[in-house]
């Protein structure tokens, strides 16, 4: 099944490779991975979507957690969370069908962010299903390029995935 993992990691060079390596070693293809800094510039949040066996994903997750640069890992698949993805879609468009495309864009509350003679670029934000749906509807017009960010997610309500406080160990 599909798992959504939310990681809090140190904002270091090489962290992404370390995390990704643990998945590839078990032959797991990461469907999407999105990384960006958080409210603390020393710390990044990584959202990983991966499809795979429950036990194997759990074991990989434990190994991810062991990485020194990883502060926190949560499997939020079953949590009540908001998930979003942004996509840019370049669609073939000319004067005859541009208005039809605009209608679709309106229905999805998407936006046209660039208009050329032969194409437009549509920007859409939403969960994976919504992004898939608009791509499906735009396909007959001729999709030239798609760029998707991959999912980012956050648990709803007061439950927070906080950065653990820095602790200095004295030995």
């Amino acid at each position: 099944m599909k798992h959504i993992l939310s990681l809090i990691v140190l904002n270091h060079a090489g962290v992404l490779t370390r995390v990704a390596g643990l998945f590839s070693r078990r032959g797991y293809n990461i469907e999407s991975i999105a990384v960006g800094i958080t409210e603390d510039p020393n710390v990044s949040r990584m959202t990983i979507v991966v499809d795979g066996d429950e036990n194997v994903v759990e074991q990989i997750t434990k190994n991810v957690h062991k990485l020194i640069d990883v502060l926190k890992v949560s499997d939020i698949t079953h949590d009540d969370c908001v998930d979003r993805e942004l996509a840019l879609i370049k669609v073939t468009a000319n004067s005859s069908n541009r208005s039809e495309i605009l209608q679709i864009v309106d229905i999805f509350r998407a936006r046209i962010v660039d208009v050329g003679e032969q194409s437009v670029i549509v920007e859409v934000t939403g969960d994976e299903g919504k992004v898939d749906a608009i791509i499906q509807l735009l396909r007959p017009y001729g999709i030239k390029e798609v760029a998707r960010t991959g999912m980012i997610a956050m648990v709803r309500g007061t439950k927070m995935q906080k950065t653990p406080s820095r602790r200095v160990i004295n030995i």
């Binding site: 490779t17 370390r18 434990k62 062991k66 990485l67 020194i68 990883v70 653990p164 602790r167 160990i169």
Partner: protein, 580 residues
């Protein structure tokens, strides 16, 4: 100048004082402040400034003849002493030569800290001469690794590297230092502080889980204690014994767990698994409770998974949460340090003894003792060789082994009684490990007699270290169990490949006595059982340097009993010690 700068007084006040040092000097000072006394290394272009700082420093540097041996020696040092082992190599080929040694330490959770030089920062990533992305290469075989990007970070990174290598489940850490970093001048100040918010191993076991484990132990009718290398690294051997004796637990150990429980104790079952004793494997197969401590259910231990301990509830005590449930389903997981958890567990159980079960085990022991047949041609049987080493050393030596048949015979026939006495590459199965690891062990434990039992194939993988041992007068006693074959390969070819001995006969040489002598190591050859004792005693007597005894053993002896690949532990062949 450096002599003045390097403070080896151990004076607390002096230790914390800030001093101006080059990166290379700071490196040496940080190692000394860390308590390092010995490092194994090999110089080269990128580490020249570091070697200049080592020159005339109080650090004992052992110059090996191949960097792989530096990593193994550091590993052997760590395993024998419990303190981190340190190795140093130059960039590129020097660094890549460490890789097998680092992987060996990784698989067996050994605290090795490896330092590599690298090309100057502005050259990294430009395919410079002797450049290799060693942090990329060692990513999956280190607990963590670092590239030092600023000289100012060096003291902190070295402190963190040692902390990570030795804390929680031990393991290797690599620190890659670009050459120009070692030339920069910094203010060095020793600090105890470690700030690693992402690294907090759990030492205390969860009390509810421990209570549950205690209840399960009290309820069990056929319990078995199964211990691994974690018992050795956490220093829990005495507690294993206390627990076993308190509740009458038969104890079996993995290759890494050897020494974690006295081999000749009445409750000892010997090693389990592929070449374990019949009674250990039967006990694990029939038990109703398996208590795993610091062990990881390796495939060589479990055999076929679906028949492994199939009647048993499983308690798994391990400091590494990622080990729980990795290979087998676990009923009662306890994440924590073996020593801490066992101490608690012993308090929670009361004295008992399952007489029927212990009686059954005694019967199995009588029915299937470890044994072998004499060679009809009168050659030395390799098992006899191990028995003779045991006799000559009184069972008190540190013995390092390589990988293959001799390794299994050592594990079966030498009854180790104390932790850190048996040193062998378990997880990675690295041929060529034993001899350099023995060198490291001998330097770390000058109070112990150190023997290396090597196969003739394995020994040739790092025989260049004869020179290292000779030059430094390191008193290792190398015994080569020489059958002129890659014996374990030959055994498998005999059993599983219709005896088609493809490239496993290495009997054509070299002459190991001459080889040893060429390196300045006194050596003898033994071919008859009657001569063996005297040769081993001759080896034991030499105090001030290495010796080698080339023992020609029965060429086609096999390791039995054996669980064939893919079979369950109960389906052993050669239960009698041989196959009819």
């Amino acid at each position: 100048m450096l002599d003045k700068m390097i403070n080896n007084t151990g004076d607390k006040e002096e230790k914390g004082k800030p001093v101006r040092l080059s990166g290379a000097q700071a490196f040496v000072q940080a190692l000394i402040d860390q308590g390092v006394d010995t490092i194994f290394g090999y110089p080269g272009g990128s580490v020249l400034p570091i070697y200049d700082a080592i020159y005339q420093s109080p650090l004992r540097h052992i110059l090996v003849r191949h960097e792989q041996a530096a990593a193994h020696a550091a590993d052997g040092y760590a395993r024998a002493t419990g303190r981190p082992g340190v190795c140093l190599a130059t960039s590129g080929p020097g660094a890549t030569n460490l890789v097998t040694g680092i992987a060996t330490a990784w698989m067996d959770s050994s605290p090795v800290v490896a330092f590599t030089g690298n090309v100057a920062r502005q050259l990294i990533g430009r395919d410079a001469f002797q450049e290799a992305d060693i942090t990329g290469i060692t990513l999956p075989i280190t607990k963590h690794n670092f590239v030092v990007r600023e000289a100012g970070e060096l003291p902190r990174i070295i402190r963190e590297a040692f902390h990570i290598a030795t804390t929680g489940r031990p393991g290797p850490v690599l620190v890659d230092i670009p050459k120009d970093v070692t030339l920069e001048e910094i203010t060095y100040q020793y600090t105890d502080h470690v700030n690693l918010p992402g690294f907090r191993p759990t030492y205390q076991g969860h009390i509810r889980q421990i209570n549950e484990a205690a209840r399960a132990i009290m309820a069990a009718k056929r319990p078995v204690l199964y211990i691994g290398g974690g018992v050795i690294s956490s220093g829990a051997a005495d507690l294993v014994r206390q627990l076993a004796e308190k509740v009458g637990l038969p104890v079996t150990f993995t290759l890494m767990g050897i020494g974690g429980f006295p081999g000749h104790h009445p409750l000892a079952l010997g090693m389990l698994g592929m070449h374990g004793t019949v009674y250990a494997n039967l006990a694990v197969s029939r038990c109703d409770l398996l208590i795993a401590v610091g062990a990881r259910f390796d495939d060589r231990v479990t055999g076929r998974l679906d028949s492994f301990a199939r009647e048993a509830k499983i308690i798994h005590i391990d400091i590494d949460p990622a080990e729980i449930g990795k290979n087998v389903r676990v009923d009662i997981p306890v994440v924590g340090d073996a020593r801490t958890v066992l101490a608690e567990l012993i308090r929670k159980v009361s004295t008992k003894r399952e007489a029927e079960w212990l009686g059954q085990i005694e019967e199995w022991k009588k029915q299937y003792p470890l044994r072998y047949k004499e060679d009809p041609a009168g050659s030395i049987m390799p098992q006899f060789l191990v028995e003779e080493i045991y006799a000559v050393t009184g069972g008190h030596a540190v013995v390092a082994s390589d990988v293959g048949q001799h390794q299994m015979w050592l594990a079966q026939y030498y009854k180790f009684s104390t932790p850190r006495s048996h040193i062998s590459s378990g997880g990675l199965g690295t041929m060529g490990f034993g001899f350099p690891a023995g060198i490291g062990a001998a330097l770390g434990r000058p109070d112990r007699q150190v023997w290396c039992l090597c196969g003739d194939g394995s020994f040739q993988m790092n025989s260049q270290e004869l020179t290292t041992a000779a030059v430094y007068g390191i008193p290792v006693k190398v015994v080569v169990c020489n059958n002129g074959y890659l014996g374990m390969v030959r055994q498998w070819q005999e059993i599983f490949f219709a005896n088609r001995l493809s490239h496993s006969d290495i009997g054509s040489g070299p002459d190991l006595v001459k080889l040893a002598e060429a390196h300045g190591v006194p050596a003898r050859r033994v071919e008859k059982p009657a001569e063996l004792r005297a040769a081993l005693e001759w080896a034991a007597a030499r105090q001030d340097g290495p010796v080698l005894v080339d023992v020609r053993v029965a060429r086609e002896a096999n390791v039995f009993p054996m669980v064939p690949l893919g079979a369950g532990l109960e389906d052993m062949i050669g239960k009698e010690g041989w196959v009819k």
